[in-house]
Amino acid sequence: MTDIAWIELALTAARPQALGALLRYFRDLDTAEEAFQEACLRAIRTWPERGAPRDPTAWLIFVGRNSGIDAVRKRAKNDPLPEEEAFSDLSDAEDDIADRLDNSNYRDDILRLMFICCHPDLPNTQQIALALRIVSGLTVPQIARAFLVSEAAMEQRITRAKARVAKAGVPFETPDAAERATRLGMVSSMIYLVFNEGYSAGVNNPDNAAFCEEAIRLARLLLRIFPGEPEIMGLLALMMLQHSRAGARFDGQSQIILLEDQDRSLWDRKLINEALVLLDKAIRHRQPGPYQVQAAISALHARAATPGETDWAEINQLYGLLERLRPSPVVTLNRAVAVSKLDGPEQALELIAPLAERLDGYFYFHGVRGSFLMQLDRKAEAREAFDRAIALANSPAECAHIRQQIDKLGAVPSPVE
């Protein structure tokens, strides 16, 4: 790894904390971003020669704050910028700034930076784009590629989202415990959105698939600053368990391979082991939440050496718990898969029958229903359900997967017109 590549990594790692602190100083996102950008440019200029500072984040905050103040003054007075050597010396200035980075401040700085991306007025895709731009520091072209839109369109989308956030007013007061919990909840959902954007993209869009790793990185960061939050442990464990299967989810032709057909030796054991530890840690707190329960379900799959060893009874119970914690027809649909393994497809069909109206526009509903009908050899109905699923598919891979199911059905008598 070259020096510059290493410095860029250090800058990425320092970004949430440094930008969060600069946002607190300047109370304006654009000024904070410009100041951070300027500090990064100076880091790239001076670190290769002088060596990286002991605490890169503190250095960036210090330099960024000075350059931001200068920029604000310059706008007023047109004063010349001072030489960076005047303040890039690491010794005293860094200790001073490090002292100020007391835990409560930097925790809330990072949380605030993430939280402003979760404004409820912003549609999901804009929350994701904004988080990737502001918190992760991806460039607009990178994000545009991932979303398969033009750079100009993405630039406009992000600018609009930022304007909306600015108009709403960034909350600068130190949050109380209840407010902090609310923010943590919203930030957790936002991180999971980023993850799912990557997860659902599959292999067809590698730019997008990298979002999974970015979401895991953000959740690790969040857990490091809030180490005793079981739901963040759950979220991180859930994402790691899902991501552990990345190498097994698609075949050479980018076709979906279902969980039960995956080559389990391709699952990433390191990720799984870390996730299982996190889940154990979370369970000790005895405060079950939706992420923990979903992670626990995912863990049961990870623990099964073969599909036949899957503990469907426990999965059924956990989905039952999830239905109580966060009632949703989608959860019931998922529980139906466990029920089909335990009691057979007939019972499963019965369970999902009442969901038909609410989930009529949902790809998985028709896909899952089709597979139950197929198991019961009700071919014509299965065909109908699969056709409906294809019409609702979100990606070519989903479409192709359902086509395979239809092929398995074999010849089906045409429905009576």
Binding site: M1, T12, A13, D55
Partner: protein, 124 residues
């Protein structure tokens, strides 16, 4: 003398590595370990999971407290360790220097001599 060589690093930076970057560093680290390995001087080598996976048991008033996270919250975290059987401290220092030169993520290597209580029974 047996030495434990403890690798400290900025966790955030190391966990920002992509899979490819991580693999490149690991390859170089393996190369550095080969000579000691062949000389039969290398003991168990471990990479620690992130501090977010850590739990700490601390002395409490009545019974020990179980706390989420590492023992001390520091800028630099213990990332992993090597155990080596070195003739001299110089030899251990030279090995640590080689490790350091191929691992851009590490910020320091602490060299601590140790005694073996017992070899343990874990199969690795």
């Amino acid at each position: 003398m047996l030495y434990a060589i403890l690798c400290y690093a900025h966790e955030e930076t190391v966990f920002a590595w992509s899979k490819e970057e991580e693999a490149a560093v690991m390859d170089k680290l393996m190369e550095v370990q080969q000579p000691l390995m062949q000389a039969g001087k290398l003991g168990p080598v471990a990479r620690l999971m992130p501090t977010t996976a850590a739990t700490t048991v601390r002395k409490g008033k009545d019974e020990p407290l179980v706390i989420d996270g590492p023992f001390a919250e520091t800028k630099e975290a213990l990332l992993g360790f090597y155990t080596v059987d070195a003739e001299t401290l110089e030899e251990a220092v030279a090995f640590a220097k080689q490790l350091s030169s191929v691992n851009p993520g590490s910020s320091s290597y602490e060299i601590r001599p140790f005694h073996v209580f017992h070899p343990g029974a874990i199969k690795t």
